[in-house]
C-alpha cells in the first residue's frame, strides 16, 4: 500500500510551502489549466447542459450499479475475456500477481492508472520479482524518482525540467553521457526511445479504465501520448484494473461524458487518443492481446452507496477541482498524504482509508466552492467535506480545544440577550485598546490570526448597543 501521511497534513503543508521549486511548479497549475478549461467551456454553449446530462447518466448507473456490473461482466466473458471481482486492494494485488505468474511474466508495462496507485501495485509486483514499467511520461518520471503522483492527471506536475534531466542521466546510463537534454522535446524523445523497447519486452500490459460500458463489455481509456494503446495491444495479455463506479450503461453515454471530460481536465475538445477495448483479439483483428482480463475493484466504494457520499462516485477523475483549488495551489498534491489530492481527495480519501486517518483533508478547505463550480459531474464537494466534518464531530475526532471553544461560542450564540450583554463589554474594551493604532499586532488566543496578519480593532460599541441607544424600547424581538 502507498504510505499514508495524511495525519501529518499540517507538517506536509509547511514543508510544501517552504519548497521553492514546488511553489514555482504550482504556479503553472494556477495559470495553465484554469485558462484552458475556461476557453473550452466558453466555446461550447451547451456545456452546462452537458454537465447535467453527465451527472444524470452516472446517477442512473449508480442507482442500478449491481445490474450494470453484472451485464458488463457477462458481455466481457461473452467476448472471451475474464472478469475478476476484488473486494479489497489486497485481493486486487493478489489476482494480478496470479495472472502474472500464470504467464511467467517478468516485465509488465503500465498505462496511467490511479487505481493501481490506490492498490500500491508497483511496489507489490517488484516485491514479487515482476518489473512494472510506467509508460505515461509523467508516471515514468515519477517512477524513476521513487515518488507518487501529485496530481491525478498530471502526475509529475511538481517536477521541473532540470530534475527530469538529472533523473534521465542517472537512470539511462547506457546512453551517451554528453547528449544534449536541454529541451523538453529531447527529454520526450529519450523517454519515447527507452520506453519503445519496453513495450516489446513486456509480457503483460496493465491499464486502468475511464469507463466500462455495460452494453458491450468494453473498457475505454483516454490518453494524450498513445502509450496506453501500445501498452494494451502489444503484449500477449491485457489486464484492465478499474473500480466498480466506472460503469456506464451504453456507448452513447460514454460519448456524452467524453464531451465534458477533456474540456474540464486540460481544455482539449477531446484527448488525443480515446481507445475502446472489448475482449481479446478476434480472428479477423490485425492485432490485440491473446488474453484479456478485467479486475473490478470495490475497496470501500460499495459502502458509499446509499450514503451522503454516493455522489462522489460520479467522479471521472478530470482534476478540475484541484486545478481550481486555492489550497491545492498552495501546498500541491503530496501534502494530502495519500493517493488522491485536492477537493476530490478530501472527500474520497476518508471514504477509502477512514476519516480518523485523513481528518485534516475535509477540514483544510475554505469552502470557496470553486471546485463544485467547475466539476463536470456537479459533485457537491464542499457539502460532502462538511459531511465528513459532521462524522468527525459526532465521533469526537476533532481536537478537544476546538470542540470546547465551539461549544462555549454556541452556548452564547443561542442566547442573544446574554450574548449581547457579554459582547457589549468585551467589544467596548477591545475597541478602547485598539483605538490608538486601529489594529492589533498580537492578541492572546488569536495567534493563528496575528502570526501572519494584523487584527483590525473593533470600531467601538457593538451595532446592537448603538442601535438600542437610538431606537430604545420600540424594538421588536427584545428578550
Amino acid at each position: 500500500m502507498v504510505e499514508i501521511t495524511s495525519p501529518a497534513f499540517k507538517a506536509n503543508a509547511r514543508e510544501a510551502l517552504a519548497d521553492a521549486p514546488l511553489q514555482r511548479a504550482l504556479g503553472h497549475v494556477r495559470s495553465g489549466f484554469i485558462a484552458k478549461r475556461a476557453v473550452a467551456a466558453e466555446a461550447l454553449p451547451e456545456f452546462d447542459r452537458l454537465r447535467d446530462n453527465a451527472r444524470d447518466i452516472k446517477d442512473h448507473a449508480l442507482a442500478h450499479l449491481d445490474l450494470y456490473l453484472e451485464a458488463y461482466a457477462d458481455k466481457v466473458e461473452a467476448a472471451g475475456g475474464h472478469v475478476h471481482w476484488a473486494e479489497t486492494a489486497e485481493d486486487a494485488r493478489r489476482i494480478i500477481l496470479d495472472i502474472c505468474r500464470s504467464k511467467n511474466a517478468r516485465t509488465v508495462t503500465k498505462g496511467k492508472s490511479m487505481i493501481t496507485e490506490e492498490i500500491g501495485l508497483n511496489a507489490f509486483l517488484e516485491e514479487h520479482s515482476v518489473a512494472p514499467v510506467e509508460t505515461d511520461l509523467g508516471e515514468y518520471i515519477i517512477q524513476l524518482r521513487g515518488e507518487h503522483p501529485s496530481h491525478i492527471i498530471a502526475p509529475a506536475v511538481h517536477v521541473n525540467k532540470d530534475q527530469v534531466e538529472a533523473d534521465f542521466r542517472r537512470v539511462h546510463t547506457h546512453l551517451d553521457p554528453d547528449r544534449n537534454l536541454d529541451e523538453p522535446t529531447t527529454l520526450l524523445g529519450e523517454a519515447r526511445a527507452v520506453l519503445r523497447e519496453k513495450y516489446f519486452q513486456a509480457d503483460i500490459g496493465i491499464t486502468g479504465a475511464n469507463f466500462l460500458v455495460a452494453e458491450t463489455g468494453t473498457s475505454v481509456i483516454v490518453t494524450n501520448e498513445g502509450n496506453g494503446d501500445l501498452t494494451q495491444s502489444l503484449p500477449k495479455t491485457h489486464v484492465v484494473v478499474a473500480s466498480i463506479e466506472k460503469i456506464v450503461p451504453t456507448l452513447e453515454d460514454v460519448s456524452q461524458i467524453l464531451r465534458v471530460l477533456a474540456r474540464s481536465a486540460t481544455g482539449q475538445d477531446m484527448s488525443v487518443y480515446t481507445t475502446f477495448s472489448t475482449g481479446p483479439r478476434r480472428e479477423a483483428d490485425p492485432d490485440g492481446p491473446e488474453d484479456y482480463h478485467v479486475v473490478l475493484l470495490d475497496n470501500g466504494r460499495s459502502s458509499m452507496l446509499g450514503t451522503e457520499f454516493q455522489d462522489m462516485l460520479r467522479c471521472i477523475r478530470c482534476g478540475a477541482c484541484m486545478n481550481h483549488c486555492p489550497v491545492y495551489h498552495a501546498v500541491g498534491g503530496h501534502a494530502y498524504g495519500w493517493v488522491y489530492p485536492g477537493p476530490m481527495g478530501a472527500v474520497l480519501t476518508p471514504s477509502l482509508i477512514g476519516v480518523d486517518q485523513s481528518g485534516h483533508l475535509p477540514n483544510a478547505s475554505t469552502f470557496c466552492g470553486r471546485c463544485e463550480s467547475v466539476c463536470p459531474m456537479r459533485i457537491p464537494l464542499p457539502k460532502m467535506m462538511r459531511h465528513w466534518r459532521e462524522r468527525e464531530f459526532s465521533r469526537n475526532l476533532n481536537p478537544a480545544a476546538a470542540r470546547y471553544g465551539l461549544g462555549l461560542w454556541a452556548f452564547f450564540a443561542k442566547r442573544p440577550a446574554l450574548y449581547q450583554a457579554l459582547t457589549r463589554v468585551a467589544i467596548g474594551t477591545l475597541g478602547l485598546m485598539g483605538r490608538a493604532r486601529g489594529r492589533f499586532r498580537a492578541m492572546p488566543l488569536a495567534g493563528g490570526w496575528t502570526r501572519y496578519r494584523d487584527l483590525p480593532a473593533p470600531e467601538g460599541g457593538t451595532f446592537q448597543a448603538q442601535w438600542a441607544k437610538r431606537h430604545g424600547n420600540s424594538r421588536r424581538g427584545t428578550r
Binding site: K10, V327, S373, A436, G438, F463, W467, A468
Partner: protein, 273 residues
C-alpha cells in the same frame, strides 16, 4: 437614490407586501459587523431606507450559525437557525450585509431540518425571503444607481459565497460605477478566495497566509487606493494582511461607499486627528 417601482409590483415571497406599501426588512446584522464594524450596519440601513424600505433590527440575533455548521455541529447550527427564523420570519425580506451569512440563511438552513417536513417547509419559506444587501438593492429593488460620491480608485474582490452561492458579481460593480468620482480598477483573479474561510484561517494559518499573500499581490497590482468587498470576514483578512505588509491601500465594505458613509477610519486604520 434611484429606485424603479419594481418592488411595488413585486409580491414579497409571503405575499404580505401590498402594492405601493414600503417593504418591511429585517436586517440580519451579522456577528462580525455587530462586533467589529457597526458602520456597515448603519450603511445598510441607510441604503435600504433611501430605497423606500422600513428597516428593523430584531434584537434576538447573534450569528447565522456557520461556525457550528461548518465544524460539523449540526445540532447547534439548527438551534441557532431556529432562533433566527423565529426572529425574522414575519418580515417581507431578510437582508444581510454579507454573502457568506446570507448564503447560510438562504442556501443551507433548509437542510438542517431534513428530518422534519414542517420545520423544513418553514425554513424554506424563510430562506426565500433572504437576500444579501447589494443583491437586494439591485435584484429585488431594481436600483441602478446610488447617490454617493467617492473620489478615487477602487478595486473589488468577489467574496466566494456571494459569488458562487448567490450569483453576486455584476450588481456591486454596476452600483459602484454610479458613484460620482469613483474609478473601478479590476484586480486579476478577483473571484479567487482570499484564504479567510471562517475557522480555516486559524486552523490552517500557514495555508491561509499563502492564499492571502497571493490575494494582496493581485490587489496591489490593480493599482487602486481602496479595496472593497461585501463580506467583513474576507475584508478583515485582506486588511490585516495589507496592513502587516505595510500597504497604504485602504479597505472598506462596499456598503460604506455605496451609502456615502466613509467618515469612519477604514478597516484596521486608526482614527484620524
Amino acid at each position: 437614490m434611484t429606485a424603479n417601482a419594481q418592488h411595488d409590483a413585486q409580491q414579497s415571497p409571503n405575499g404580505r407586501s401590498e402594492a405601493g406599501k414600503a417593504p418591511r426588512v429585517g436586517l440580519f446584522v451579522t456577528c462580525l459587523v455587530d462586533l467589529f464594524r457597526p458602520s456597515v450596519g448603519f450603511a445598510a440601513v441607510k441604503l435600504m431606507e433611501d430605497a423606500g424600505c422600513r428597516v428593523d433590527v430584531p434584537a434576538a440575533q447573534t450569528c447565522c450559525g456557520q461556525p457550528a455548521f461548518n465544524s460539523g455541529d449540526r445540532k447547534d447550527a439548527r438551534a441557532i437557525a431556529e432562533g433566527v427564523i423565529r426572529s425574522f420570519e414575519d418580515y417581507d425580506y431578510v437582508v444581510a450585509p454579507s454573502g457568506s451569512c446570507a448564503g447560510m440563511l438562504k442556501k443551507h438552513y433548509a437542510e438542517l431540518f431534513d428530518d422534519d417536513d414542517e420545520a423544513r417547509a418553514r425554513a424554506e419559506a424563510f430562506s426565500a425571503k433572504v437576500f444579501e444587501l447589494v443583491s437586494f438593492l439591485a435584484d429585488v429593488l431594481g436600483i441602478t444607481e446610488v447617490n454617493a460620491q467617492h473620489e478615487g480608485t477602487v478595486t473589488y474582490h468577489d467574496s466566494c459565497s456571494g459569488l458562487r452561492e448567490l450569483g453576486i458579481r455584476q450588481q456591486p460593480r454596476r452600483l459602484l460605477r454610479s458613484v460620482e468620482g469613483l474609478e473601478l480598477k479590476e484586480m486579476k483573479d478577483s473571484d479567487v478566495c482570499c484564504g479567510f474561510g471562517g475557522t480555516f484561517c486559524v486552523k490552517y494559518p500557514d495555508i491561509s497566509n499563502k492564499i492571502v499573500e497571493e490575494k494582496t499581490r493581485t490587489i496591489r497590482e490593480a493599482g487602486a487606493s481602496l479595496l472593497l468587498a461585501g463580506d467583513l470576514g474576507c475584508l478583515m483578512n485582506m486588511a490585516g494582511k495589507l496592513k502587516r505588509e505595510g500597504s497604504a491601500i485602504e479597505v472598506r465594505h462596499v456598503a460604506e461607499v455605496l451609502a456615502g458613509m466613509t467618515d469612519q477610519p477604514a478597516i484596521g486604520e486608526k482614527r484620524r486627528g
